[in-house]
């Protein structure tokens, strides 16, 4: 099998704050093949976004720093890449869509300028060609009358449209990898479905792999082939989407599935299950497994030794001593 498009090994990104070291990403391993979609799931503050920003090398230095690990992309270690090498990769080979479409576009520049600026930067085209390509991208992401919309400013568009513009911008240089950081969270439900559908369709067309970051398991089920579940800075479970939904193994993943409200009328209406406790303070992580305080199946070893990522069958991996 060919080498994966993206391979992250032992990535650690820490923030050195006045209060202490925040271990936002603490040993993430991931791999993603060309054209695949990987869902990265977890609750707020578990390090999903920081993982994405680490790949883009957009962590705000000097407070935040990648302290360990490697990010191999198309055979190049991005952790060791220089800033000018990264600038050639950002927006070109890897692009990113952000959570907040309302604030992610520059309010004082026309959307056309914002799209064509990336095209002009990375592709050898004239200003006019870049502008025409921007119109084409707007058409592709389903914005009506793109010829006139291209001249508009972000405030003249709705949230859904702005997210379409972001997607158009992200795909304008045909990236090999697109990172979508909660692309639908800020949108209302009908628009969410449209945007997911759009990402799925365009992915086929452009042939990009997608790293989809979300806290919504439903979104993952819809578009991802593989899923990584993150907790407090590392991956606790990794599997293909069907295996994960059928046989979740890590107590945290199991808890996540139990905390999804059941449909009305399906059997008895039960009380909604929640995972007790809170995400541990990233400044004071416990010794051993980070999930120990909230785990219903915790035992002595969990409190002493940090669990390793264990291989189950196939691609299924889990970071839990229960399965050793």
């Amino acid at each position: 099998m060919a080498a994966p498009l993206l391979e992250i090994q032992g990535l650690k990104t820490f923030f050195f704050t006045r209060k202490g070291v925040v271990k936002a990403v603490d040993g993430v391993d991931l791999s993603l093949n060309e054209g695949e979609t990987l869902g990265l799931v977890g609750e707020s503050g578990c390090g999903k976004t920081v993982t994405a920003l680490s790949i883009m090398r957009l962590i705000s230095e000097p407070i935040g720093r990648i302290t360990e690990g490697s990010i191999n992309f198309e055979g190049k270690d991005l952790v060791a890449a220089t800033e000018s090498e990264m600038r050639k990769i950002r927006g070109n080979r890897i692009s990113m869509i952000f959570q907040e479409p309302m604030t992610s576009l520059n309010p004082v520049l026309k959307v056309g300028d914002q799209i064509s600026e990336a095209i002009q930067l990375h592709q050898d085209v004239s200003k006019k060609e870049a502008w025409d390509r921007s119109i084409e991208m707007l058409r592709l992401v389903g914005i009506p009358s793109p010829e006139s919309r291209v001249n508009e400013y972000p405030h003249q568009m709705s949230g859904g449209m702005r997210q379409r513009v972001m997607i158009g911008m992200a795909l304008s240089c045909h990236p090999k990898l697109m990172i979508a950081d909660e692309p639908t969270t800020a949108l209302d439900v009908t628009i969410q479905a449209q945007i997911l559908d759009l990402i799925n369709r365009l992915k086929e067309r452009v042939g990009s792999a997608i790293l989809l970051i979300t806290h919504n398991l439903g979104v993952v089920a819809e578009v991802a082939q593989y899923v990584g579940v993150m907790y407090a800075g590392y991956i606790v479970e990794y599997a293909d989407v069907i295996t994960l939904f059928k046989e979740p193994r890590h107590p945290y993943t199991v808890g996540l599935f139990q905390s999804i409200p059941k449909k009305k009328g399906s059997a008895k209406r039960e009380r909604l299950q929640a995972i007790p406790g809170l995400v541990p303070d990233l400044l004071e992580l416990p010794k051993g497994c980070k999930f120990q305080d909230r785990c219903s199946r915790v035992f002595q070893r969990c409190r002493e030794e940090a669990p390793l990522l264990l291989k189950l069958n196939g691609s299924h991996q889990v970071r839990c001593w229960l399965y050793e």
Binding site: K88, L105, L109, A118
Partner: protein, 337 residues
């Protein structure tokens, strides 16, 4: 856009009426009598009364204002009591000197202020940041007359690099075209006069620029810091744009609104003349003229100047507002550029 401008100019009428009444009254409420000052200590009461009558100061305030206002409507700002020259003429000549000085000071302060502010913001907490912000504090706190005298002492007296006073060296041939010495010297191809006037401008312009420069630098820094943490800056970086493009194209344009406000406000103030700087460097501008006219109780001259400042302020503010529209599309109500 045309409607916006005409509406604002329409407001100007009411501002002028208000300002003219206020200045008119205030001048007459302060102690001192122009007739008295004109004829001197030893004049007889009859002489003073005669002069008062001649100047129209013997009638009631209401009547005096009525005469003044009706003359204004005819475009007549009155005649200076001191020099007997029409006030509009006196103002115009001095205003051009002030304009030259103000534009130079604003160019210096905006360029250096914005640049220092931008560098400070992108290198927050660096040595440059601490240094420039400390300089800004010093700039704001320093008494302007002291700075002017110090600069004059160092550059003119001690080192003799720059001239001490005036707009150009006396005795140089100067053909008045517009009244702006630098522009006229270029128009008539007189390079020697041009450089001479530039040299004369440096010290007063720099003196006048210090306070606005400091304010602009601090404003730019805080505004840029706010903008640089915005989501769209992250988007711009995620596109692979260079640092310079991110800072100047994506951030500065967004940060410019408060900066342009401060620039406009300071420019308006400078155009009203800078009394201290003009006095120190013997610059024949409006600031000194107002103060001199005030101490002589030259009512028409002071009234004329204040009205003129009001017009200038309104025009500067209007220009700033038009700049807003250019900078921030969200403010364009009709949605058209």
């Amino acid at each position: 856009m045309a409607r916006f401008i005409s509406r604002r100019l329409f407001h100007l009428i009411f501002i002028l009426i208000g300002v003219s009444i206020l200045v008119f009254l205030m001048l007459r409420l302060i102690p001192g009598d122009p007739a008295h000052l004109l004829v001197g200590e030893l004049a007889s009461p009859q002489d003073i009364a005669r002069i008062r009558e001649k100047l129209g100061l013997d009638s009631s305030y209401v009547y005096q204002y009525f005469i003044y206002a009706s003359n204004l409507l005819k475009g007549d700002m009155g005649t200076s009591i001191r020099s007997n020259v029409p006030v509009s003429q006196e103002i115009f000549v001095r205003f051009l000197a002030t304009v030259e000085l103000s534009i130079a000071a604003m160019l210096i302060s905006s360029l250096i202020g914005i640049l220092a502010g931008v560098i400070s913001s992108v290198r927050q907490y660096s040595i440059f940041d601490y240094f420039s912000m400390m300089m800004a504090l010093v700039g704001i706190s320093m008494p302007i007359f002291w700075l002017g005298l110090m600069l004059m002492y160092l550059f003119s007296v001690k080192w003799g690099i720059l001239p001490m006073m005036g707009r150009f060296t006396m005795g140089l041939d100067y053909h008045v075209i517009s009244g702006l010495v630098m522009l006229d010297s270029l128009l008539s191809g007189d390079i020697q006069l041009f450089f001479n006037s530039v040299k004369h401008l440096i010290l007063p312009a720099f003196t006048l620029a210090t306070i606005p420069m400091a304010i602009i630098a601090r404003m730019t820094r805080s505004s840029m810091l706010e903008v640089m943490s915005k989501d769209y800056i992250r988007t711009a970086r995620a596109k692979g744009l260079s640092r310079g493009t991110v800072i100047f194209r994506h951030a500065l344009k967004n940060a410019f609104l408060p900066i342009i406000t401060v620039i406009g406000l300071n420019f308006g103030l400078l155009l009203g003349g800078a009394v201290l700087t003009e006095t120190i460097f013997s610059w024949p501008g409006l600031g000194r003229y107002v103060v001199d006219s005030l101490s002589a109780r030259d009512y028409p001259a002071v009234q004329g100047c204040i009205l003129f400042f009001a017009v200038i302020m309104v025009i500067v503010n209007l220009t700033v507002d038009i700049f807003y529209l250019y900078l921030d599309p969200r403010l364009r109500i009709d949605g058209k550029g």
